[in-house]
Every structure is written in structure tokens, then in C-alpha cells.
């Protein structure tokens, strides 16, 4: 339970951070430390240099408008929960952050750290995927923007290379969102986490004559079930342009496993098969919550 000896340096800006990263054989970025430090204590990670970026101004702050939000990498999960602009324009972020770990971790853990760690059961990657977000990276070849589906490579890997620093995540605006999570009874990670982000189009009469909005540009993504977070394309296709009735949402949710990719993830408490078994229910309830359809929301 004791980390190996490690050097520590605090970076003032992103170029300095990248220089420090290049200065050691096995340097690691440190922000909230809630993934890295426990791994170091358990002997599962042993970097020779920690580059602390938690005070870098360029990585902090948020910009929100009607088109969406750009969230700096060292933004904490707690800050996502405490931002009226995010709640209005990119509600999937606060909706997900609310379910992320516990208060202590939310107060320290950062958005950039969470995305870069890419733990297969992490909540936030699902939210960013569902909303069609983009991860901004500053690396040896300059700055680049990576669409979320390209960023996550499975089993904790990302496209990040040596010397890369996640600087921000950009999330397009959406009108409706929800996150529903089944929590591992021991670890607290998601066994099934489902993020929904979509726009609601003009209302039209459904078969019963009631006004029901249509679902536009839906994004539905899952965490915890396989080796990576991923969008559920079959569910999205079944929803796009449809009215948000209980029957439509239930029918779409039934297609949750159709496009599920990658090996199932399970353990002695919660098997992968069980995660997949309950996935349609979690998707259905997330859709119901996102679109205000109480019949299927629970």
C-alpha cells in the first residue's frame, strides 16, 4: 500500500507540462489524482515523475452558450453539478456527474482525468459520447480535436500518446438528457450506466391525440457492460424522428443489445450476461427520464 518513490513537479502552463512529460521516461499527469494515486498505492502504477496540472489556467474554466459548452480539463465533477449554464444547455453533464462516485471524489476528480483514464465503467465517457462531444488534446504535433467515439479505444485505452495533454471537452447543446446507473455493490462503479442526450422537436399528435414531442438527433451511450463505453446505434436509429411515447421508447430500448460491441465485462458479483440482461430496462428508464415519459422512467 505504499507508492514507489516518485518525483513531483507543478506545471504553470500546458507547454511546461508537455516539457515535463518529455523529461522523464515514465511521467504521468496528475490532476484530481483519484485514478492514479490509488493505483500507485496498490503498486499497479509506478510513474517516475508526476506532473501536476491542477493549477494550469488554460485547463480550467468553462464556456457555455446556446451551441454548447467547452469544459476545461481540470474542471471537477462537482463543478459540473454547480453550473446553471451547463444545466440549461448541456444537461447530460450534470445529470451524469450527479451519479459519479461520491461527494468526496466529485470534489477532487476532474473531467479530463476521467476521460483520459477511460475506465470501462466510468460514467462521464458515456455522457460525452451520447452528446456527440469532442476531446481537445495538446500534443507533440500540436493541438487536435478528437471525436469521442475515436477517443476511446477500449479496455482503458485511448488515442492519447506520450506527451499528450487533454485540454478540454466540447459538448454540443441538447435539449433533453438523463443518466441512469446501476452501481456495483462493492466498487461503486457502474455495472450498467446509460446516458441519453437529444433534442426534442415540435410536438405532434400521437395516436391518442395528445401532444408528444419528437426525438431529434438522439444519442444513447452505455458504460460498464463491455470493455468500453459506446453508443447504442440501434436504439438511436429506432428513436430518431419518432414521437417520445412509452411504446416508442420501450421498442427502442428492446434494441439495446443489437449493436453492442466488444466483450462483456463481468465479475463474481455481476456477470456480463446479467449486465446485458438488464441493459434494455436501464435504457428504457433513461429514455423515459430524458423525455419526461413517466410510464417508463422509474
Amino acid at each position: 500500500m505504499f507508492p514507489a518513490e516518485v518525483d513531483y513537479v507543478r506545471a504553470d502552463d500546458v507547454p511546461a507540462a508537455r516539457e515535463h512529460l518529455a523529461s522523464a521516461d515514465d511521467a504521468a499527469l496528475l490532476a484530481g489524482g483519484h485514478g492514479l494515486l490509488p493505483a500507485m498505492k496498490a503498486g499497479e502504477a509506478a510513474p517516475d515523475l508526476l506532473v501536476d496540472v491542477s493549477d494550469v489556467d488554460a485547463l480550467a474554466g468553462r464556456a457555455v452558450d446556446a451551441d454548447g459548452a467547452r469544459v476545461g480539463a481540470v474542471t471537477t465533477h462537482a463543478e459540473l453539478l454547480d453550473d446553471d449554464g451547463l444545466a440549461e444547455h448541456v444537461p447530460v453533464l450534470p445529470a451524469t456527474a450527479e451519479h459519479l462516485a461520491d461527494r468526496q471524489i466529485r470534489n477532487r476528480g476532474t473531467v479530463g482525468g476521467n476521460l483520459a483514464e477511460a475506465a470501462p465503467a466510468a460514467d462521464l465517457p458515456a455522457a460525452v459520447l451520447a452528446a456527440g462531444g469532442t476531446v481537445h488534446v495538446d500534443g507533440p504535433d500540436g493541438e487536435r480535436a478528437v471525436d469521442a467515439p475515436d477517443f476511446f479505444a477500449g479496455d482503458g485505452d485511448t488515442v492519447l500518446g506520450a506527451g499528450d495533454v487533454v485540454t478540454a471537452v466540447e459538448v454540443p447543446a441538447h435539449g433533453a438528457a438523463a443518466y441512469r446507473k446501476r452501481t456495483h455493490p462493492a466498487s461503486g462503479w457502474a455495472t450498467v450506466g446509460v446516458a441519453v442526450a437529444a433534442d426534442l422537436g415540435g410536438e405532434g399528435d400521437d395516436a391518442t391525440g395528445e401532444d408528444v414531442p419528437t426525438v431529434e438527433d438522439p444519442g444513447v451511450a452505455v458504460a460498464g457492460v463491455t470493455d468500453r463505453q459506446q453508443r447504442l446505434g440501434a436504439v438511436e436509429a429506432a428513436l430518431a424522428g419518432e414521437r417520445a411515447t412509452p411504446a416508442t421508447l420501450s421498442a427502442a430500448a428492446e434494441r439495446s443489445s443489437d449493436s453492442l460491441d466488444g466483450p462483456l465485462r463481468g465479475d463474481h458479483h455481476v456477470s456480463g450476461e446479467h449486465r446485458r440482461d438488464v441493459l434494455p430496462t436501464v435504457v428504457e428508464r433513461a429514455l423515459g427520464a430524458a423525455f419526461g415519459v413517466p410510464e417508463v422512467a422509474r
Partner: protein, 784 residues
């Protein structure tokens, strides 16, 4: 510095009990615990101490071919690496070998040539710092040749795995209780036979504080002083003497503040003995503390039974007889009383019912797992789970209301000797059951009209769910608990200034003995509890002791200190009578002073006078020592009820209400009793709903840390509603019964009965614990 010592907590509120006596509603122990001022073992490490860490290979079963300490010894600050060959003491943890059917070796504190469970220590690293010790332990290279493992007690009897040459079927002990012929006859004569096949899941002890020890050599009177996490200072002294080959008198054991016991701090562990040995060898203090993971891997674990059981029932609902056959894991070694505990678990198999015959066969089976030993409840939860699942199954199969079937068969006359040899002292089982039903509006269970397993498999889920889509069920379980065995010591000493010290051989590691004993002694002596200090857990201060386990402390410790207090009070009255020149019978104690006629003398003056010359040949001094043993076992009892909602779509079980009605005999302190019930029910709910120690097929423990072992969190638990009846035990002067384990006994069958009630309309007859969402979903899928 002594063991646990507690004085008054300050402005404690008070509550009046049934007899009009006041009992504090706040525990005097809590301020120091809440402020972080309580001293635990690892807080008491001297600066000059060396640190010990153990090397634990990750194999469930392996031949140890060699230990290469070269790299470890080369590390800065590593002082030495030891294996069993280095020990110049016996180094064998006591096992109950004289009670076993087979001749097997004891548990060496460091494995000699074989490890028989994941985490069994093989080498000990001594270093200048705790960090260096653990780095050193990582650097020790243990060459192991893995052997096949067998982790399930039922499979281990058949497995082609030999754990000990002396135990070819891996059976340590094959025990029978009750009358097999009478039981067979009753079954042959009965109208129906109902059976269950169930697992009592293996549990890990998750006390807040992992085990730790600090050993210091060469005090004036002792060869070594060992401060450690113990439920019994004197018990640990005896075990250390055995392991170290020393006289008990040469060892001073202190148990300071201890963060929870639950049984696993009553057992003896290698780290404690090795720290003591190393301290004497190096002539230097040595500290050891287990990581959470080491604690989990080393055990001792709890439960782990596989049982088939049958109940013979007549048409009219008369329960005739019960028989059970159990395979109980004892792990890689049969530690201490672990085998005996399992072998005699059947003693409670009559439950609350008046059965003609009971027979139980228990095989204690070696498995390549951590040893199994007493864990809060220690055999009683296993027995009551069998009884209460059987009775519920009988009600469901034969169309009785589960409560009515129980009520019809309750023991009503006391004392009562059961068909399996338990002597129930006193009880009013129906009263506690009625009280529980009052809390749930009198109808906690489905009626016999409900669909049964036989005719319901095709039941439509929508037809049996509530409007919110949930399946609801209610369950009850009625239990008895045997409490209060063995003797205990209690000293009450009044100093010359009137200060009172109570010394008891029990140990409080969460139970609040300081609060309870002070109030018992204050009550007997007629003085303010704030004047009383309570001391436990120090072999140099306390004459002797047995310790705290088995729901015994209030009975034997409480009565021991009460008896000493009565003796001291009587003598103080005689001294006061001398001072007042009155007849002792005319002396009263009011507001801290003795009065007779118009005269008064303060308690302090009486204390002072007691140490002067006494009239009539009376000895000076004001102190009494009692070694107390109850006249017989006190059988606590009660009925718990709960309501659950099961989400058929996810398998989630939500305990919507939980009501516990317990009868702990005379209640000394309602707050303490409530606390014990709350904690026990929480542990029982953990067993029922989430906890299960799980081994991989290769014998490595999968649940080796808190992120892998599903201990319930506070937020996972329902509000626990408690109520009581009070039926005093005739076997001890205070009329008390133990209550420390009641919750762990009652909660598992209560919850399982409720969930099966919820799922029964869909054809589910039984589920094994823990009732995880996955198991619930699987049961629903199987039933369709």
C-alpha cells in the same frame, strides 16, 4: 496506559426503563471515539519500534519449494527476513486437534512446506519502518508449486485434492446431534415431508480496524508486553503462551480501544505471535498491522455451510421433527474452536418450536480457503436459517399462513428441553411474535390461498405485480439464541477518596460496556455512575477473564460486577453504620450520603473509614472480586418481520420496512440494546442481500478488498424499527440475556422469506443468499 478505560461522558441524557430506573441514552465511550482521542493499537507504536510485514503468496494450495530473501535483505532498512526454520519457539497456533477425528498438523505461524489458503504467511520481514517492511515483503521471492484447490465444503469431500494426508476425505470432524431413530420414526409417521437445500454464504469480517499488535520486550515483571486487537486479553495471553512456549505469567497483554471484533479478534493470528517473538529476539519493540486485504485473506471467515434439511409435518400443521445434514467448511486449518462451533451448530435446530425429534449430522470439511471460525452469531445464524426457511417452505407447500404455522408450534412451557438437548430457560414466544405483528398491522404474510410453487409457474407477472410494477412480499422469522456461557471476573474497588473502579474480564470493542457496567454498579451501590471508571483489556490489572463473544458480556460480566458491587455496598453500609453508630439495617444511602437517625456521613468519608481499623474483626478495605458463572444458558428470542419490493425487471430487492422485536430478558440499557440490534440486523442484511466471500477455482480469494467484497453501506440499509419484550432469565441475578448477535441470526431468514414470498406467485420456492439482482433475475427466468 491500560486497556480500555472509560469515565463519564458528560451530559448524557437518560431514559427510564420498565422498572423506573434511569439508563443513560448516550454512551460514555463515544466522545473520545468521535473526537479521535481513543487510542487504538496502531496509535501506541513506540518511536523506536521495528516493523513486521508478512509475505503471503497468492496461492490457495501450493507446495512451498523455497524462500529467496536475497533481494529483500538487500533493501535499505530491512533488518531480517524470517521463515519457520528461524523460530526457536513452537510457533503453532492452537487447534482443536483433540476434538477432531483426524490427526493433522497445527497451523504454523509461518508455513513450513505447504500453504493451504490464499494469503497464508510464509515469511516475516522485519524493518526499520512500516514502509520498508512492506517493500521487503514484496521483494521476497517464494517459489511455489501450485496444487489443485477445493473451495466448496460439499465438493471438497469428493474432490481429488488431499489437503492433509491424515484426512483422506478432507473431513476433520463428523458429528451427530439428536436421536436419529426417533427422528426417522417421526418422519415415517408424519403426513408430509418438506425439504430445503441451501447455502449459508461465507462471510468476511469487516471490522473498521484491521488486526494489529505491538510487542515490547522486557518490562519489570514480564518478558514481553503485547498490545493488540483482541476481544479477550486473557484469552490471547493463553494463546500466545501456547504459540511462544512461555508461561502465561511472563506475558502482559493489553487490548486498548479496538475497532470492532465480530469474532475474528477472538482468534489467534500469526502476526501477533511473530511480533512478540521478534520483539524478544531483537530486544526491541516490534509493530505489526494487517492491511485490509491481508485481513480478508487470512480470515477467520464466517459461515460457509451447505445443508440439506427436512421437516416432518402433519396435516393439522403440527411440526413433528427436523433433520439436517450439513457440510461446514473449516478452511485450510481447523483453528481453535472452529470445528467444534460448526459441529454443534445443530443445538438450536428446534428453533422456537416444540418438536418431537431432531437429528443433525455435520461434517466439518477442510477446504483450501482461509480458516472458518466464529463470526457474529457463530453457528446460531446457520441453525436458525435452516429452521426458518424450512418452516416457511412448509407453510407455502402445505397452504398454511407462515405466521399461523409458527404460532401453532411454539414452545409455551418453560423451562423446556428441546429434542436436540438445548435447555430453554424462559420465554414468551407468542408475545414477541404478536408485538412484531402489531407493527405490521397484523398481516405480514400471505395466506394459504396464494398460488404455490406447484401451480404457479405459468403465472402472469403482470397479474401479481403492484401498479408500480414491483413484486411485494413480507416475511417473518422467529429465533432463539443461546447466550452467556463460561465464567467472568468482575472487580469493584472503592479508593480512599470514594472513586470507584470497575475491572472486568470482558472487552468492549463497540458494545459500550463502560456505559452498561457503570450503570449496573451505580444501581447496585446507589451512587452516581459518573464516579465510576470501567477498565477492561489488561492482564496486569484484571485478575483473569474470558472475554467478549457469544453475546455473553452483560450476563457474565454484568453479573460479576453487579455481585461485587453488592458486596462492596453491603460492606460500605456496615462501615457507615459504624461511623453513624447505628444498626446497618437502619442505614440508607441518599444523594451520596449514608443516613441513620438524623445523622449523615458522606460516601467519601465511608470510603476513607473503610481503610482504617474496623470493628468486630472486619477486614479493612472496600473491594470485592467475583468470578461469576450463570446457572444456565439464557435463550434470547424474538420475531423479526420485513416487507420487500422486488423489481422484476432488474432483480433489485428493496427492504421497505424492517421490524425487529427482541426479548433480551431484563434490559439494562435500551440504547445499548437498540445499538446491538441495529448493528446485527445490518450485518444480517449484508449476508442476505450482498455479501459473499468468493474464491476462484484455483483457491485465490476474489473478494480480497472492500472494492470486491460487497459490504452494505449505510445508504443501502432501511430504517430499522426496534421494539422489545422483557422476559427475565431465571439463570442469572440480573435476569438478562445476551443480545449481541440476535440481528445477525434473525435478519437473513426474515429477508429471504420475504423475497421468496414476493416471488412465489411466479413459482420461485427458494433462493440462496446473497439475493443479488442477478440471482433474482435468474430465478424468475428459471421459473417461467
Amino acid at each position: 496506559m491500560s486497556g480500555v478505560e472509560s469515565g463519564p461522558a458528560g451530559d448524557a441524557g437518560a431514559e427510564t426503563d420498565a422498572d423506573g430506573r434511569e439508563a443513560p441514552t448516550e454512551r460514555r465511550e463515544d466522545p473520545a471515539l468521535l473526537r479521535g482521542e481513543a487510542a487504538f493499537t496502531d496509535d501506541l507504536v513506540p518511536d523506536r519500534a521495528a516493523h513486521l510485514a508478512l509475505v503471503r503468496p497468492p496461492h490457495g494450495h501450493a507446495v512451498v519449494e523455497g524462500v529467496d530473501a536475497t533481494d529483500a535483505e538487500a533493501l535499505d532498512d530491512v533488518l531480517a527476513v524470517h521463515t519457520f526454520e528461524d523460530l526457536d519457539v513452537p510457533g503453532l497456533l492452537p487447534i482443536a486437534d483433540e476434538r477432531l477425528d483426524v490427526d493433522v498438523p497445527a497451523h504454523p505461524v509461518l508455513a513450513r512446506d505447504r500453504v493451504r489458503y490464499d494469503g497464508q504467511p510464509v515469511a516475516a520481514v522485519l524493518a526499520e519502518t512500516a514502509y520498508a517492511a512492506r517493500d521487503g515483503a514484496r521483494a521476497v521471492d517464494v517459489a511455489c508449486d501450485p496444487l489443485p484447490a477445493t473451495v466448496d465444503p460439499r465438493e471438497a469431500r469428493e474432490a481429488d485434492v488431499t489437503i492433509f494426508e491424515g484426512a483422506p476425505d478432507n473431513v476433520a470432524l463428523d458429528a451427530e446431534m439428536g436421536d436419529a431413530d426417533a427422528t426417522d420414526a417421526a418422519f415415517a409417521d408424519a403426513d408430509h415431508v418438506v425439504d430445503v437445500d441451501l447455502e449459508n454464504n461465507r462471510l468476511l469480517s469487516s471490522a473498521l480496524e484491521p488486526r494489529a499488535a505491538v510487542a515490547e520486550p522486557g518490562s519489570d515483571e514480564h518478558a514481553v508486553r503485547v498490545t493488540l486487537t483482541s476481544q479477550s486479553a486473557h484469552g490471547h495471553r493463553r494463546k500466545l503462551a501456547h504459540t511462544l512456549g512461555m508461561d502465561e505469567g511472563a506475558i502482559h497483554v493489553r487490548a486498548p480501544s479496538v475497532g470492532g471484533g465480530f469474532g475474528h479478534k477472538g482468534h489467534h493470528h500469526p502476526g501477533e505471535a511473530l511480533a512478540a517473538w521478534a520483539a524478544m529476539r531483537e530486544d526491541r519493540p516490534v509493530a505489526w498491522s494487517a492491511t485490509r486485504s491481508a485481513n480478508y485473506r487470512e480470515g477467520a471467515h464466517g459461515r460457509d455451510h451447505r445443508t440439506t434439511a427436512e421437516l416432518a409435518v402433519d396435516d393439522d400443521g403440527t411440526l413433528r421433527a427436523l433433520r439436517a445434514e450439513t457440510d461446514a467448511a473449516v478452511g485450510g486449518y481447523c483453528l481453535g474452536g472452529g470445528g467444534v462451533m460448526a459441529a454443534f451448530y445443530g443445538r438450536l435446530l428446534a428453533g422456537q418450536y416444540d418438536l418431537d425429534a431432531v437429528h443433525c449430522r455435520t461434517r466439518c470439511v477442510f477446504t483450501t480457503t482461509a480458516p472458518v471460525h466464529s463470526y457474529r452469531g457463530a453457528g446460531r445464524p446457520e441453525a436458525i436459517y435452516v429452521v426458518e426457511r424450512l418452516v416457511d417452505a412448509a407453510a407455502r407447500d402445505l397452504g398454511f399462513d407462515p405466521v399461523e404455522l409458527r404460532r401453532r408450534n411454539l414452545v409455551e412451557e418453560f423451562p423446556h428441553e428441546t429434542a436436540v438437548g438445548a435447555e430453554y430457560d424462559s420465554g414468551n414466544y407468542a408475545r414477541a411474535m404478536d408485538r412484531a405483528l402489531d407493527h405490521v398491522d397484523g398481516r405480514p404474510a400471505t395466506t394459504g390461498d396464494a398460488p404455490t410453487a406447484d401451480d404457479a409457474p405459468a403465472a402472469d407477472r403482470d397479474a401479481v405485480t403492484d401498479d408500480d410494477g414491483l413484486l411485494r412480499g413480507v416475511g417473518v422469522a422467529s429465533y432463539v439464541e443461546s447466550t452467556g456461557g463460561g465464567f467472568e471476573s468482575g472487580v469493584v474497588r472503592v479508593d480512599r477518596d470514594g472513586g470507584v473502579t470497575v475491572l472486568a474480564g470482558t472487552h468492549s470493542h463497540g458494545q459500550g460496556h463502560g456505559t452498561t457496567y457503570a450503570s449496573v454498579v451505580a444501581d447496585e451501590m446507589g451512587i452516581d455512575p459518573d464516579r465510576i471508571d470501567v477498565v477492561e483489556g489488561d492482564t496486569a490489572r484484571i485478575p483473569t477473564g474470558t472475554g467478549t463473544f457469544g453475546s455473553r458480556s452483560a450476563i457474565v460480566g454484568g453479573n460479576a460486577v453487579a455481585e461485587s458491587a453488592r458486596e462492596v455496598a453491603a460492606k460500605a453500609r456496615r462501615v457507615a453504620a459504624g461511623e453513624l453508630d447505628a444498626d446497618p439495617a437502619d442505614v440508607t444511602l441518599v444523594d451520596g450520603e449514608y443516613r441513620a437517625g438524623g445523622d449523615a456521613v458522606a460516601f467519601e468519608a465511608v470510603a476513607r473509614a473503610a481503610y482504617g481499623r474496623q470493628p468486630d474483626g472486619m477486614e479493612p478495605g472496600l473491594e470485592a472480586t467475583t468470578f461469576y458463572e450463570a446457572d444456565g444458558t439464557a435463550y434470547t428470542f424474538g420475531t423479526h418481520a420485513c416487507a420487500v419490493a422486488v423489481d422484476p425487471a432488474t432483480g433489485d430487492v428493496d427492504v421497505e420496512r424492517y421490524v425487529a422485536v427482541d426479548d433480551p430478558g431484563h434490559v439494562l440499557n435500551p440504547t445499548i440494546v437498540d445499538g446491538q440490534i441495529h448493528g446485527g440486523v445490518a450485518q444480517g442484511l449484508g449476508q442476505a442481500l450482498s455479501e459473499r466471500a468468493t474464491y476462484a477455482d484455483d483457491g485465490t480469494l476474489l473478494t480480497d478488498r472492500m472494492t470486491e467484497y460487497a459490504l452494505p453501506r449505510a445508504g443501502d440499509l432501511p430504517a430499522i424499527e426496534t421494539d422489545r419484550t422483557e422476559t427475565p432469565s431465571p439463570h442469572n441475578d440480573l435476569g438478562v440475556k445476551g443480545v449481541g448477535e440476535a440481528g445477525t441470526i434473525a435478519a437473513p431468514p426474515t429477508v429471504v422469506n420475504a423475497v421468496v414470498d414476493a416471488l412465489a406467485p411466479l413459482g420461485v420456492a427458494h433462493l440462496d443468499m446473497p439475493l443479488t439482482p442477478e440471482r433474482v433475475r435468474a430465478a424468475l427466468a428459471d421459473s417461467r
